[in-house]
């Protein structure tokens, strides 16, 4: 082993001593929440003092918390979240891809300026304008409605930016060939740009998905009615109830955390963006 590799492996070992404890530290709270969701609610606090392995690992393993959660009040909230998320992703992708297509493909005067204005204005943090927006939405009768919850995810600036960058990379010669074959702008969008951009579309869908899945301030402002509660608000209410069932609360937390993680794992591979350039050499 030469000198450099030796020194490198020593540095690597030193780094391990930091990386592993930090990684475990970051995992610990979630791991504890997972374990707590798998034990009967009263067991969580029974084993806290003194701190032993029983504090973390259940004595009785059970899925009871999940079963009760999904048959109780949390179910409508989860369904609300799913409705909002699905509509937001579908609507958001449609609006963003149309705009991105115009900004990437159609040459019209003032294109750069329009692009700049759109991106900058959508980069204003949504939280900062959520409160005035909620009073506007109340005036428009959008409070306590699905539409009111969905709309803020439509026209997402980052999704537009992301798709535009991708569309710019698709060889123009493909569109020109299609135009010769008699396709209009919309046909080219539908038959060429959309099918070729699966990776970027999945990426943009995830941006919108995460935005809506995590949303808390906006649903709190716009949907005070219990009927229109979303999952995050329901969990927060859980914690503020007196005599809360901690087992169910942790089950709700794990469920809300796990769904985006599972989706991320499923779609991870699509991110690379497998763009088909086979039709053209440029």
């Amino acid at each position: 082993m030469d000198n450099t590799t030796l020194r490198e492996s020593r540095a690597g070992r030193r780094a391990m001593f930091i990386a592993v404890p930090v990684a475990l530290l970051s995992l610990a709270p979630l791991f504890w929440a997972l374990m707590s969701s798998l034990r009967p609610g009263r067991e969580i606090f029974a084993n806290l003092h003194p701190f032993t392995l029983r504090t973390v690992f259940p004595e009785v393993w059970t899925l009871q918390n999940y079963a009760e959660l999904l048959s109780g009040n949390f179910r409508p909230a989860l369904i609300n979240t799913l409705v909002v998320v699905v509509c937001s992703v579908v609507g958001g992708i449609l609006v963003a891809s149309l705009a991105a297509y115009a900004l990437a493909v159609i040459e019209f005067p003032g294109r750069t300026a329009v692009f700049g204005v759109m991106v900058v204005s959508f980069l204003v943090p949504f939280e900062a304008i959520a409160i005035p927006l909620s009073s506007t939405f109340r005036d428009w009768g959008l409070a306590n409605s699905y539409l009111g919850l969905i709309l803020p995810a439509i026209g997402n600036g980052l999704a537009i930016f992301n798709l535009r960058q991708f569309f710019l990379n698709i060889p123009q010669s493909l569109a020109e060939a299609a135009r010769v074959d008699g396709l209009g702008y919309f046909g080219i969008y539908r038959k060429i740009y959309m099918p070729l951009s699966r990776g970027a579309l999945v990426g943009s869908a995830l941006i919108i998905f995460v935005f809506q899945w995590q949303a808390f301030l906006w649903p709190l402002l716009n949907s005070p009615s219990p009927r229109m509660r979303v999952a995050t608000v329901a969990i927060a209410d859980f914690a503020q109830e007196s005599g809360v069932d901690y087992g169910q609360m942790f089950a709700a937390a794990i469920l809300t955390a796990a769904i985006p993680l599972i989706l991320l794992l499923i779609f991870q591979r699509q991110f690379g963006g497998s763009m088909a350039t086979s039709g053209s050499k440029e």
Binding site: V22, A23, S26, H49, T55, S121, F161, I207, F211
Partner: protein, 314 residues
């Protein structure tokens, strides 16, 4: 959270612009003008939905906020609401808390993120696994992580029980004004550090290894290599993290709402929570709007100062 989206931005942001194609040459002027016009209309149709969303969701609320902030219910054009919030000790106190929070949490998170980024770009077995575990908390909705910490930090909760087991005193995390803000800082950093680290890891990986090898031959130690190679090499990512992290920390809401509701003794009443209480609990939309405008102005000032301080090349 807009944070996750920023990851996408950096992933696709480097795509080069292809050169614009020249317009079809030699077409008669009249035809060109009609085509021109048609293209403009087509573009407008494609852009219309996004444009309407922009108008409804950004422009209207901004106008609404300004009108509310400058109105007294009947007419517009008074500074009353601003005078009211700046003479309200609850608001000025909340601004002070927010600034204190920012002054502590931003350097702390960025230093930790940079340190971990350097550690996790060394040659370590299973490096991807450790990075993923550190990133994991950001994939969890903030509300969920706040709930988990709410139980962890209870006076009789597992964290104190753990401390006692090792002979340390238990800490009144959320119920003592001296510790509550630190508790919020811990929770926010548990979420944030791994996220910001990811950008810096990407930046460090772009630095050519040959630079480090050359420095090593010259006998430069770890600290010197960090100062003269790593730090200048991640300048651009560092600027992005600095700005994005500061903005994110000004807008912290869910952890405060769930862990402390601004208390005890208003020691964790960060400005977003203060604005929320104005609008929602007190129903005072005018002072909430004035406070929102103050927040946005502070954000603009802070961000532009940061851009001055760290002039990234390019």
């Amino acid at each position: 959270m807009s944070g996750n989206a920023a990851g996408m931005l950096s992933r696709h942001g480097s795509t080069p612009f292809p050169a614009d194609k020249g317009r079809a040459a030699g077409a008669p002027a009249v035809r060109r003008r009609t085509r021109h016009w048609r293209r403009w209309v087509t573009a407008a149709v494609f852009l219309l939905p996004a444009f309407v969303a922009l108008l409804m969701l950004r422009v209207v609320p901004t106008v609404e906020a300004v009108t509310l902030a400058l109105g007294d219910g009947e007419r517009v054009g008074t500074w009353e609401n601003f005078e009211a919030i700046f003479t309200d000790p609850l608001f000025t106190g909340s601004l002070r808390t927010t600034l204190l929070f920012g002054v502590i949490i931003n350097p702390l998170q960025i230093a930790l993120a940079l340190f971990l980024a350097v550690v996790l770009t060394q040659r370590i077995p299973l490096v991807g696994l450790w990075r993923t575990l550190i990133l994991l908390p950001v994939a969890v909705p903030q509300v969920v992580s706040a709930i988990v910490w709410l139980v962890l930090l209870r006076p009789d909760g597992p964290l104190n029980s753990f401390l006692e087991r090792f002979g340390m005193p238990s800490v009144p995390w959320l119920i003592n004004p001296r510790y509550a803000l630190w508790s919020i800082i811990i929770v926010c950093s548990w979420v944030g550090v791994g996220y910001w680290m990811t950008f810096l890891v990407a930046g460090i990986q772009e630095i050519p290894r040959s630079l480090y090898e050359a420095a090593e031959i010259d006998g430069a130690g770890t600290l010197r290599r960090f100062r003269h190679i790593t730090l200048p090499g991640v300048r651009r990512q560092l600027l992005f993290v600095l700005v994005a992290d500061t903005v994110a920390n000004f807008l912290v809401f869910a952890p405060v709402r769930i862990l402390t509701q601004g208390g005890p003794a208003r020691s964790t009443d960060l400005v977003m929570h203060n604005i929320f209480e104005r609008a929602y609990t007190l129903g005072d939309l005018q002072s909430a709007s004035a406070a929102t405008i103050v927040l946005v102005l502070i954000l603009l000032v802070v961000v532009s100062i940061q851009f001055r301080l760290l002039p990234g090349k390019e």
